[in-house]
Subunit: 339 residues, 2 copies
């Protein structure tokens, strides 16, 4: 393993301040190429925007998608003991075994979309602290989780999708969203993977208690992630920031992934410019969170699974966009009249 | 080539009356399997519905997508001489050469989504008659176009996407939609591949004139297709009906494909039960047409190209759905607690 890129929150915050942007020359070349292709202007809709965006980040006017990486991080949450999930906490570890055996949805989605899958379980036998009583993580634990994500990114990848597994983590994501963007707990709390009405009311109370117990989390991106997040959320944030430094574009997954990513954006506006929303999930708060980020999702298929599933599904759309952009003939090459 | 399955409109209408349904046992087996998979119930959203729908039509509880076929039909329209398109009619033939050379968007999208592409140009040097003066096709010409589509379907395919190329064919599709579903011409006329305000007004007049010149087209699915369609629209309808008889599921493409398909549905309710809307295009009338059909699109990415582009893009979503359905472990297999 390489030397850690950071060993403190201050170090991580410094890495978040000084961010590379896209290659504007490559972006402009891609936009110019797009205008020559054998289709009416704009007729490929968002596929055109996607290709130009991707070209800029990769610094190539005519890129192809060849090595997408999907990372799934798993963590356990102290707050799960409050009964906020329909599933027992043991399911997190059971699902990690399922990921490793190839039996989960994300295994199929990664394979079907030509991506390599990495699975990282973060100290599942040691849940984070119950955030209704104080911060979920101390600095050392938080930095270790950020670093797990940072180090999991393959520098040779040309796309990153982050996903997660963690019983109770929609509660954690709702608390983060409330801390970052305000409103009421009810605005950000949904049924997750299947709680009933009583469970929903309990989730709201737990989220409110989390904010009361962690007043420093309000409005502070990194501090919200430490106090209200879980290790898998911190790892996703670490991976997304690493991707930025490597100019690897990111497809965001669902509510929990987006909540973790939002901590970066709130701490440093523009931190998610290298990220596109892969989908919007059936968890209503996800759509609200994407609106706060100003990101329109590529897909809206009612998924509410996590694991990186919606992000992985969107890889196919991006691959298709790049295939059109980089493979189509120009009007001149094809001898087609351009109107 | 096989003997023609039909040689008259009456023969085609008979094939449209007597339609096979899905295999209910396979469908039920797929639904039962879906309930056992390692995810919360419903967490894969529309991917679950898609897999069960596909399983029913293919008669397999655990299907995979292995041989999707994309067919592009090209035709020229007499009504193009009215100036309803921003492009000259020569572009149809030029684009067919581009399809054959591999340079168009649909070539890239078919390849990126693992589909075989077939291109069929229908008498491009002999445009259909101008439908503002009477029927676009006589019976013999119409039946020949239907048969081209019918015969183009590979009986070994396990999915069909139909697309089209034909300068002025959004005008044809708008006239068909008006004939089938009523309303005003303005409800169904859009900018196609880029006409200006004056062009838009002209398209409306042309559509209204088409309905006046073809009173028999109103409300009659097959007759609307003959009177107001083009050869490429008739071919798509022929291919979609053949797919039904072969129990090959269909992903519909954009406005023109959907208008052609709607003629089957209006003539014989349920005729499109084997079809899912691959996408909704930026042409506003497409969304309205899908609502009339009760079909929710899989994708909404602002495409307005035709060629089968949106349908081909949706192949990746269907493949992912089937990969999850057929590849995931059950709770029992994976040893995961199911809540």
């Amino acid at each position: 393993m390489a030397d850690r890129a950071f060993t403190s929150i201050d170090d991580f915050a410094a890495l978040l301040r000084d961010l590379p942007g896209p290659d504007e020359a490559a972006r402009a070349a891609a936009a110019a190429r797009n205008d020559t292709l054998t289709k009416p202007p704009g007729a490929l809709g968002r596929l055109e925007d996607l290709a130009i965006w991707y070209a800029g980040w990769r610094g190539q006017a005519r890129p192809r998608l060849q090595a997408p990486q999907v990372l799934v991080f798993a963590g356990n949450h102290g707050v799960a003991a409050r009964g906020v999930s329909a599933f027992p906490a043991e399911v997190t570890a059971q699902m990690v075994l399922n990921f490793e055996a190839g039996g989960a949805a994300i295994n199929q989605l990664a394979e079907a979309n030509g991506a390599r899958l990495g699975v990282h379980a973060l100290e599942l036998d040691r849940p984070t602290a119950d955030f209704t009583q104080g911060p979920a993580m101390d600095e050392a634990g938080f930095v270790a989780a950020l670093a797990t994500g940072w180090e999991a990114v393959d520098p040779g990848a040309d796309l990153l999708v982050c996903g997660e597994m963690g019983i109770a983590n929609t509660t954690s994501a709702a608390a983060i969203a409330l801390a970052l963007f305000g409103g009421e707990a009810a605005d950000w709390v949904g049924r997750g993977t299947g709680v009933d009405d009583a469970g929903l009311a309990l989730k709201r109370q737990v989220v409110e208690a989390g904010l009361e117990a962690n007043p420093g989390a309000r409005g502070g991106g990194i501090e919200a992630l430490r106090c209200l997040g879980g290790r898998e959320l911190a790892a996703m944030a670490g991976a997304i920031l690493r991707a930025r430094h490597l100019r690897i574009p990111v497809l965001l997954d669902g509510f929990i992934c987006t909540a973790a990513a939002s901590c970066l954006e709130v701490a440093r506006p523009g931190a998610l410019d290298h990220a596109v929303a892969g989908h919007v999930s059936a968890e209503a708060a996800h759509g609200a969170l994407l609106e706060k980020l100003g990101k329109a999702p590529l897909l809206s298929l009612g998924l509410r699974l996590g694991e990186g599933s919606g992000g992985a599904l969107a890889i196919g759309v991006l691959r298709s966009a790049l295939a059109c952009h980089s493979g189509m003939a120009s009007f001149a090459e094809a001898g087609v009249s351009d109107g």
